[in-house]
């Protein structure tokens, strides 16, 4: 399994930060996911070997964190918050709108592989609720119209 040079540089640097190898597991998984798109059996195998863990241990950790996934996702992962502040300010409507517009449900992916949708808990942007996160970018004070624009922007890319 081959990762980018940047990944390798980060990986070897991280190893020096902790007393045991296994401690770098979570960030490594995240970087690998960013690069490959999801945590494929190959990725799990490779990381398990590098960190002297069983594949079972690696998948245990993946299953613990909802940010980590073993299934391929769309190019843009739309995460709509429906936790309390966002819910009060229309987060749920926003999610419903996304569902209709993209034609997919929670954890679904559009057939062309462009978008995935996820309903998430608080993303820490309550002051600007309702909020959504697409990959690592935040979009705040959303309305249905604003959301449409956001999605259209991404579709263009």
């Amino acid at each position: 399994m081959k990762f980018s040079d940047q990944f390798e540089a980060r990986f070897s640097d991280m190893l020096t930060h902790y007393p045991t190898k296994r401690s770098v597991l979570v960030p490594t998984l995240l970087y690998a996911q960013d690069e490959v798109g999801y945590l494929s059996p190959d990725v799990i195998h490779e990381i398990a070997q590098r960190l002297d863990l069983t594949e079972l241990e690696v998948s245990n950790v993946i299953s613990y964190y909802s940010m980590l996934t073993t299934k391929p996702r769309g190019k843009f992962n739309v995460q709509v918050c429906t936790n309390i502040a966002c819910m009060l300010r229309g987060g749920e409507e926003l999610l419903d709108h996304c569902k209709t517009k993209l034609g997919i449900g929670h954890k679904g992916t559009t057939p062309d592989g462009t978008f995935s949708l996820e309903e998430v808990e608080c993303i820490g942007a309550c002051s600007w609720a309702p909020a959504a996160q697409v990959n690592y970018d935040f979009h705040e004070n959303l309305t249905v119209e604003k959301m449409d624009k956001v999605l259209d922007e991404y579709r263009k890319n």
């Binding site: 398990a48 002297d52 863990l53 069983t54 079972l56 241990e57 998948s59 245990n60």
Partner: protein, 787 residues
């Protein structure tokens, strides 16, 4: 460590500093309930059942993670605690199926007990329960997810205890589930530790599930009949059409040398006893075919033929081949039968380790043999050769857990990268066959260093290692059958040179050590006395010939040449194990005592259906020399113990069996009343007599009569009878044994069994076979670090 004083429920309790509160309470007889806590596993603090009140601490504390502190005042049973525990049980029952009436654990389930104690059976939940079908993870392990209470005991025992790491936890919070390492199945050692440790019925075994209820069985604590480590196993038996059926094996009674441990063989491979090929009728060859016959016919025929040969040619024309799985009493009796009744020294057995050379190296010196318990407690262990993970599962468990719990230093020297290297402070690979040289070097013979110096291991490294070992007081040296003959003296010399050090010699099969100790050798009597020397055996038995008899290969030659007229095989399969040409015995009269029609039994003239070690009483000696009781658990109608058969053959030969089995002696005693007001008196009397080996032996089939003689005549076996009868292990010694012998090393043939094989016996275990088949279908796992 310094002692700490605490008060629990008004009781003063003193325990060493560092003790966990839950253990301190236990030592004072106060039980704190727990699910996730398990002694000797890492702390989990997951179930909150052990909550107790510690004064000056704001909230209830988990007794399983709290270390005692001076002056702590603890209450373990207040209404507040009761309520908290009840709440925990209620939550656990939230999605629990409560299918106790069909659950294997029903009747011995910790959750059931807690529900009865705290009464939370009625739930406030109205939601439908989340059901998931039972899954089969391996031929041995089944998982019923809804029953799981997420205590993680299984995960920890598999990883920390077994070093297999086959179980994990997936997801988080209430959705957590226990998962096997291969998506939907397990690739593991199939030890069943996870099943036995599960407090509920979430993990169940293929061997026992849905078969019976715990209270319907009789539980018999006996010794495992497979490898030479001698685990104590508790067999659950139940009446069946053909006698008593063994339905379960476990080690509920954790008093054995194995503590919590049993491997797959001790736990599940009792099923050979009920294999459909089991012989239940004597067979006599008539017109070239083995035909069912009566016991009378069979014994009469054997008696007549043996008598004829003895009278016409002499006992030296008969060969006797003993077993590594029969009891000490049977082995002793068999060689006595050969020597006293047949008047021949032609007796041998499948030798898997060189115990006579060990005896030769140790006799007359201070005692330095280690017990299986020592292996768990020694501060340092040197392991030369063997692969205990496969061949001595208990020994491997003792070593691993000694390293994990006591930080013992493990030195592994092997020609292969065996799995125990993962626990080793130092692992050195040496060329195959150089183990003897290694021993010589370690014992101080510098010239031997050349044979073990390689590109990877320099001379300097060897010298450093040797110095290090010399500075390891109380070291336990364990060596495999790679080291034989004179090389054993080197190991003994090394051991003797280190302060407090002890030694273990590894043989295979449940009673291989016993077979050796009891004198199944053509040149050695019980206790490694030479047949040529005068001594108590010659005095007592009078007729023992002085010239050494034939070894097995010599017997085969004799049979081919026509000088060996008969062969008597008890509980062994030499034709298969030594790949002997079956036609070698075409002209000899062959008698075989076995459970099955083995490769050896098919060439016999008479086959006698034998009981196995789970169906009779006696003692076994494990490879360390620990003597333990074997108790009758199962029973299959139509079989007899080897003991009885030997005695009956002697009788059929017209021999006075009183000279063979000293029964009818002991104190002639009035046993007193067995009923009424004085009955207790009689019981105590009987117990005392038994403990002192003085109870009257009324029958010539009573193995205890022979145990009396063993304890009297075999050096090192004069251990406490009381302890043996109580099911405790007693270490025998070699320092006062006979002079032993240096045999041709080629006569030793290690069994090469692995975790899932067990000589001829293993072939008749459905469990072992199904695991082996299953493994062929699955690719092997890759190994990872032990941290």
């Amino acid at each position: 460590m310094a002692d700490v004083n605490i008060t629990v429920d008004g009781k003063k309790v003193t325990a060493p500093a560092g003790t966990l509160l839950i253990e301190a309470c236990k030592s004072a007889g106060i039980e704190v309930p727990s699910f996730c806590y398990y002694p000797n596993l890492s702390l989990q603090g997951a179930c909150r059942m052990c909550l107790v009140k510690v004064e000056k601490m704001p909230k209830l504390q988990t007794a399983c993670t709290t270390v005692i502190g001076e002056g702590m005042i603890v209450s373990t049973d207040t209404p507040e605690i009761h309520q908290a525990r009840k709440g925990m049980v209620e939550l656990l029952l939230g999605n629990h199926p409560l299918d106790c009436p069909v659950c294997d654990a029903g009747g011995e389930c910790e959750l059931q007990d807690m529900t009865f104690s705290y009464g939370a059976a009625e739930s406030k939940y109205i939601d439908a329960k989340n059901h998931k079908e039972e899954q089969q993870w391996s031929p041995v392990v089944f998982f019923d997810r809804p029953r799981c209470i997420l205590c993680y005991r299984c995960v920890r025992v598999c990883g920390e205890g077994m070093d297999v790491w086959a179980l994990g936890v997936q997801n988080r919070g209430v959705s957590s589930i226990i998962a096997p390492n291969q998506d939907d199945h397990l690739d593991c050692e199939e030890c069943g530790m996870c099943i036995d440790i599960c407090p509920v019925g979430a993990l169940t075994s293929g061997a026992y599930r849905y078969k019976t209820r715990p209270w319907e069985m009789k539980h018999v604590g006996t010794t495992c009949t497979h490898c030479a480590d001698g685990c104590k196993t508790t067999l659950g038996v139940r009446r069946s059409d053909t006698g008593m059926e063994i339905v379960r094996g476990d080690n509920r009674d954790k008093s054995g040398i194995n503590g919590d441990f049993l491997c797959i063989k001790g736990r599940y491979a009792f099923d050979f006893a009920h294999h459909e090929d089991r012989l239940t009728q004597p067979l006599i060859r008539k017109d070239g075919r083995l035909t069912p016959a009566t016991w009378e016919e069979a014994f009469e025929l054997i008696g007549k033929r043996f008598r004829e040969i003895c009278d016409q040619v002499g006992g030296h024309a008969i060969g006797v081949f003993g077993s590594n799985r029969t009891t000490n009493e049977e082995n002793y009796l068999l060689q006595k039968f050969a020597r006293v009744v047949l008047e021949t020294n032609n007796i041998d057995h499948h030798r898997t380790a060189d115990f006579p050379a060990l005896a030769a190296a140790l006799t007359g010196k201070p005692e330095i043999t280690a017990s299986m318990r020592d292996v768990f407690n020694a501060p340092a262990i040197l392991l030369i050769g063997n692969d205990p993970t496969e061949q001595h599962p208990l020994l491997a468990w003792q070593i691993r857990n000694n390293v994990r719990l006591h930080r013992a230093r493990l030195y592994v020297i092997n020609s292969q990268p065996i799995k125990l290297r993962r626990q080793a402070a130092s692992f050195i690979q040496i060329p195959e066959g150089s183990e003897g040289k290694l021993a010589a070097f370690l014992a101080g013979e510098d010239a031997a260093i050349d044979a073990i110096t390689t590109e990877e291991v320099s001379r300097a490294a060897w010298i450093t290692l040797r110095d290090k070992l010399r500075g390891e007081p109380n070291l336990v040296v364990v060596f495999g059958a790679e080291i034989r003959g004179a090389d054993i003296a080197s190991v003994a010399k090394l051991t003797a040179s280190i302060q407090g050090a002890k030694v273990v010699c590894l043989g295979d099969y449940a009673n291989s050590r016993g077979a050796a100790d009891m004198g199944l050798y053509p040149d050695l009597l019980p206790g490694y006395h030479r047949v040529a020397d005068t001594g108590k055996f010659h005095e007592e038995w009078a007729t023992v010939p002085r010239a050494p008899g034939l070894t097995l290969p010599e017997m085969v030659e004799g049979a081919k040449a026509g000088s060996l007229k008969a062969l008597y095989v008890v509980g062994a399969n030499p034709v298969e194990q030594f790949t002997i040409d079956p036609f070698s015995f075409s002209n000899s009269f062959v008698v075989v005592q076995d459970m099955f029609l083995t490769e050896t039994a098919v060439i016999a003239d008479v086959v006698l259906p034998a009981a196995n070690a789970y169906e009779k009483s006696g003692t076994f000696t494990n490879t360390c020399g620990d003597l333990q009781l074997v108790k009758k658990a199962g029973e299959v109608t139509g079989t007899k113990s080897d003991f009885e058969m030997i005695v009956r053959i002697a009788g059929a030969m017209g021999f006075d069996v009183r000279r063979l089995v000293p029964f009818g002696r002991g104190v002639g005693t009035d046993m007193g009343q067995s009923r009424g007001a004085q009955s207790g008196e009689a019981d105590r009397h009987a117990v005392w007599l038994e403990a002192n080996g003085l109870e009257p032996k009324m029958s010539s089939f009573d193995p205890m009569a022979i145990l009396d003689e063993i304890q009297r005549l075999v050096p090192g076996y004069d251990v406490s009878r009381m302890n043996i009868l109580a099911g405790n292990d007693q270490h025998t010694t070699l320092s006062s044994s006979g002079p032993g012998a240096l045999h041709d090393s080629k006569l030793i043939m290690p069994a090469q069994d692995n975790l899932f094989s067990s000589g001829t016996l293993g072939r008749y275990s459905r469990t072992l076979n199904s695991v082996i088949e299953n493994r062929h279908k699955q690719p092997a796992e890759t190994e990872v670090a032990a941290d």
